[in-house]
Amino acid sequence: MKKKFSIGKWLMYVALTVAALSFIYPFIWMIGASLAPLHEIGNMTLFPKNPTLGNFKSMFEKIPIGRSLFNSLFVAIMSTALVMLTGSMVGYALAKMKFRGRELIFFIIVFTMSLPFQITLIPNYITMVNLRWVDTFLALIVPFSVNAFAILMFRQAFQGLPQALIDAARMDGCNELQIVFKILWPNIKPTLVTIAILTFIGCWNEVLWPLIVIRDEKLMTMPQLVTLFSVGGRADSQLGVKIAAAVLLALPVMIAFLFLQKHFIQSMASTGLKD
């Protein structure tokens, strides 16, 4: 009995290790290749023989990647902050305030979540054109500043808090905004972390929308710039630069993931676990 058991376990470890390698290997190779001179990249070895920073150097010379890194950070931070603000205010109203039409508003918000984005893509673009927001950061931030999923998460989190907490705060003279941000926020930290991670990663990795509303290279987000560099033919002879750009795009998220692994996994899983 004991022996059969251990062989089974051993096989499982082998299977898991093979799987883990297939997920990790490409990333390690990518980092190695970004540090390799062009003629070595084709060898597909993990560690370059003559490591060089040449790829990164020419990347910074050829495309405004530093600028796009700043743009991406700015857009993602702004959107995340706005989603936290709007989400908690709307979520609070839906959870704890009584007013006419509350259920209807809630229903409409849920309904928008079920619409595939392909429906709204072109109409949203035309709205951006009419507002003259094309080629501005507004087009990258405002459409993402209210998020139905975040509203639902906040509503649910606030519903779980006792009414007494709110009543006591009111007695102490807090207004509604103070109640939300000073009294309730400290009690829903896991929800805050989840929404912040999801919104930030979603914004950071978004590429279709920036491709549509931004044409000015100075305003491009990093995934967009890297995409255009990769398909535009500029990278054909510069595989190393392309891979270096991919490394720079992946690195911030990967580092954050290493530190906040549990939070990342829980947050991403919660998008599937709702309803």
């Binding site: 898991l16 799987a19 072109i122 549509i212 890297v226 992946a250 996994i265």
Partner: protein
């Protein structure tokens, strides 16, 4: 704005390229969904065996999920490369001839489906793992007493119990699959011979390469209605299974 009635819809039904893009997307889903289900469930069952280093394995499966699709696509473009790609090296080492993973019109969309599975499967592993942990252990103990094999336990207890998760994974991969865009956009541009032109890529091209905004919006509306129809059918079929 000029109202042109159903002209755009008449055009849509005669637009062969649009239907090609729909067919490509369906081919993509045909491989992507089953592969995603099987691999995710397999890895989740392994992770559920109370082994060591589970959090390491879980994290490694999850890595591609959080990284931008742009990065994954650039990476896989090299892995799937015809001459120097690591996969063709393996293929030739085993004595077969090289495969045109991204240049053969009959294969390219399936290569992209495998890549998309690699990117997303970590998320579904976690969802299955959560599902598996809700199955009460008494069920397995009772089954063991009755002499049920591991496979019987899996088929008669695990699968029915995690049916809601299966449903969720199917729906999420369907919706995700219908959104396929950046992978073909970077890797193939929709080629070879439009065989990797996805629905969203075609909608994008109509709007921003041919500047047919109105028609593109029509395509988007029709395409989204199709997605909802497919999801409703899936829901009916899966609910019937239980």
């Amino acid at each position: 704005m000029k109202f042109i009635g159903v002209d755009n819809y008449t055009r849509l039904f005669h637009d062969r390229l649009f239907w090609t893009s729909v067919l490509n997307t369906l081919k993509f889903l045909l491989l992507h969904i089953p592969l995603q289900l099987v691999v995710a469930l397999f890895l989740a069952v392994l992770l559920n065996q109370k082994l060591k280093a589970v959090s390491f394995f879980r994290a490694s499966f999850f890595m591609p999920v959080i990284v931008s699709g742009v990065v994954v696509t650039i990476l896989w473009q090299q892995l799937l490369g015809y001459d120097t790609g690591i996969i063709n090296r393996g293929v030739t080492a085993l004595g077969f001839s090289k495969v045109g993973w991204l240049v053969d019109p009959d294969i390219a969309i399936y290569s992209i489906a495998v890549m998309a599975t690699w990117k997303n499967v970590g998320l579904y592993v976690i969802l299955f793992l959560v599902g598996l942990q809700t199955v009460p252990t008494q069920y397995y103990e009772a089954a063991k007493l009755e002499g049920a094999t591991r496979w019987q336990q899996f088929y008669h207890i695990t699968l029915p119990m995690i049916n809601p998760t299966v449903f969720m994974v199917v729906i999420l991969s369907t919706i995700g699959g219908f959104s396929l865009f950046i992978e073909p956009y970077i890797m193939t541009g929709g080629g070879p011979l439009n065989k990797t032109l996805s629905g969203v890529l075609y909608i994008y091209k109509q709007a921003f390469q041919y500047y047919n905004m109105g028609y593109s919006a029509t395509l988007g509306f029709f395409y989204a209605s199709m997605i909802m129809l497919v999801v409703v059918i899936q829901k009916k079929v899966i609910e019937k299974e239980v």
